[in-house]
Homo-oligomer: 162 residues x 2
Amino acid sequence: MVDNGDSLSLDDQICFALYAANRAVTARYRPILEELGLTYPQYLVMLVLWQEQCDNAADISNPEGLRISDLGRRLRLDTGTLTPLLKRLAEREMLTRERSSRDERVVEVRLTKKGAALRARAQGIPGRLLCGLDVQPERLIALRTELQDMLRILEETGGSSG
Amino acid sequence: MVDNGDSLSLDDQICFALYAANRAVTARYRPILEELGLTYPQYLVMLVLWQEQCDNAADISNPEGLRISDLGRRLRLDTGTLTPLLKRLAEREMLTRERSSRDERVVEVRLTKKGAALRARAQGIPGRLLCGLDVQPERLIALRTELQDMLRILEETGGSSG
DNA sequence: TCAATTAATATTGTGCACAATATAACGGTG
DNA sequence: CACCGTTATATTGTGCACAATATTAATTGA
């Protein structure tokens, strides 16, 4: 079973392994996130906002807010995905969307109290997921590192030449 | 940077690494598959059909065809995804959808000549992708194995108990 | 100052994913 | 045969993803 990279067998394709594993993990998250009223991409957005709030804990007034473009950079998502997603989260009062007064093009996203409070309920989620998984933590960390490396390589060797 | 599984940091989450890497790989495929007029999930369907055709090479008449339910099992997709996808591929004459005469519930999917011929043009795709990627093949195979293991574990420890 | 350019977000359209439900066909039992 | 539970696929509705385009605001430059 040598993989010279030219096989068209489904089972030989790393791309399919990635595709199927990703959906399986998302499916595992789904019922847990449903308790919080979040979809998986919405959860990722909240993770960024919660992180941001921690980083800005020193500031009292937190005047900045996170731009949609910054969210997009972190999550690798564009506005076609983020705009409606953020509107749904805003409808549920998890966050606010406000035009920046300094630059009217910019929309600043901020957690509401409700959104910030949700963090406590999300705290146990990563643990609960790994819990049901019979895999050594070191192996998961190794896998994560490999995936991050691959992502970095894919993003660095970007566009047209190949 | 210890990961006890309780971090809510985006960068610590294997789930995000999986999510982002999957989309990055899919994005890398997109322009190549566009040459064949296929989306990425459509490509996966074609992979299964091409494989099936190879396996049945001994049969001359190939009366069986692949059931939608079999496709779904292999790709881990349900009819809500597959039915419209297969209709689009049928419109483009890549495959045919026919009710089984023996069991009218079943829809049998078969490659057309055009669909079968596309295999030749797809042959080089895995190679072209890995080519632009500065990663040792062994590392990719190891990553694939890890992902397949994870998928298996996720599917075995299935539903409600946790 | 005002046209041109750039930047940030929004909108539109297509194609997945998936939950929930519907439809139709099979298979067995009385 | 009529009834019933099961199986296979289809349909509907919601929510991503992403390409392409539009909109509005800031910036630059004659």
